[in-house]
């Protein structure tokens, strides 16, 4: 049986793909990890998604004290894992093993937390220095006024449309 030249090229293609693929896949995939400083004092906040909205517990924070948000990954569907808190320049993709966000709330007010596609939403309050409720409320592009009750459309019978 005569094997054509192109058959040999086909075999060489498969061999080169196999060799390079073996090299790439044998190195595994990157695993995200939390980078936690155990000596630092934090306000610990639990984060989850309920009914299409972010729920933070507690949702009232002290000003200028670092915050560590710990997300319950079993309650974080779809794009809710991509967190954006634009007021404090926080943007992070959460994953198993990398489910914490740390930042320092250095201004008082009611601020928004949303997913990167602005589908899942929620809010939290940072108190004034003297512990009083703040006057400032951050507005959103889709709602007006306080957004404590804001939610993804699916909670009200609509479709979220973001894979959640």
């Amino acid at each position: 049986m005569v094997v054509s030249k192109n058959t040999w090229f086909g075999i060489l293609i498969l061999i080169s793909i196999f060799l390079v693929g073996f090299f790439v896949f044998s190195q595994g995939s990157s695993v995200a990890q939390n980078n936690i400083d155990p000596n630092k004092e934090f306000q610990v906040v639990k984060l989850s998604v309920e009914g299409g909205s972010y729920v933070m517990s507690p949702s009232t924070l002290k000003k200028d004290v670092p915050v560590r948000i710990e997300a319950d990954m079993t309650k974080m569907p779809g794009c809710s894992k991509s967190i954006v808190i634009s007021a404090f320049n926080v943007r992070k993709n959460l994953a198993e093993g990398a489910n914490t966000i740390e930042f320092t709330p250095n201004k008082a007010g009611t601020f928004n937390i949303a997913c990167s596609m602005n589908m899942y939403k929620g809010s939290f309050t940072v108190l004034e220095d003297n512990g009083s409720s703040p006057v400032y409320v951050e507005s959103t592009s889709t709602t007006t006024g306080p957004i404590a009750e804001s939610s993804c459309g699916m909670a009200n019978g609509g479709g979220c449309g973001c894979g959640g």
């Binding site: 030249k5 192109n6 080169s16 793909i17 790439v24 190195q27 954006v84 993709n93």
Partner: protein, 226 residues
């Protein structure tokens, strides 16, 4: 019957007989250039292979499927309007989508969209020009749409099964590009080859595409979440 003839031509003397060889040259060029860069530059980057290896591997395979189509179209130079439009659209859409998808997966939607759109429009116009302005316009539109769509798909899949989707998307694109090779064969089987060239263009295009993709993926700008 014509598919059997096409299969026979894959080992024949026409341009179709060079497609497998072109895939091989494109793959080898890309793997060598990546190997050189890995040895001298990328190796020192922390977690390089786990972070970028999968996407670079599949983008190289994708380019190895686009490049033979470019060579096949160049061999006939001119095509009828309908065929040329299909060529411009398919090459623009597939190359834009794949480039946008794999860059979008590592760098975010903006840079993925811009890169995918640039590659898609460039190749779409180049290939679509075989039938004049209609093919050029079709290539431009498909490249523009494919680039942004690819990046958007990747970003939306980040919190889902991105890697599994990458494999499925690659397989579907491979089938589409192979079907395009068959369509070009059907359109041109009664024509004589217009351009006989060596594999210089295969190597140059593979080199430029692979290098641009790898450098943008590793050193290019990123969206806030990446």
């Amino acid at each position: 019957m014509s598919f059997k003839e096409f299969k026979k031509e894959l080992n024949g003397n026409r341009i179709e007989g060079e497609l497998v060889r072109t895939i091989f040259y494109s793959l080898i060029t890309s793997f060598i250039i990546l190997g050189i860069f890995y040895y001298f530059r990328f190796k020192s980057i922390n977690n390089f292979i786990p972070t970028y290896g999968f996407y670079l591997f599949f983008i190289v395979l994708s380019y190895a499927l686009v490049v033979p189509t470019i060579r096949q179209i160049r061999a006939y130079k001119k095509m009828a309007c309908m065929g040329g439009m299909m060529v411009g659209m398919t090459v623009g859409m597939m190359s834009g989508f794949l480039a946008g998808y794999f860059i979008g997966a590592t760098n975010g939607m903006f840079i993925g969209g811009v890169f995918g759109m640039s590659i898609g429009i460039f190749l779409g116009i180049w290939m679509g020009s075989c039938c004049g302005i209609m093919g050029i316009m079709e290539g431009t539109m498909a490249g523009f749409m494919g680039g942004w769509m690819g990046a958007m798909t990747a970003v939306m899949l980040i919190n889902d099964n991105l890697k599994l989707a990458s494999i499925l998307i690659f397989i579907v694109c491979a089938v589409i590009l192979f079907s395009l090779n068959y369509m070009i064969y059907l359109e041109t089987r009664k024509e004589e080859r217009q351009l006989k060239e060596d594999h210089f263009i295969t190597i140059i295009i593979s080199l430029i595409l692979t290098l641009a993709t790898a450098l943008i993926m590793v050193y290019g700008p990123r969206s806030a979440l990446f």
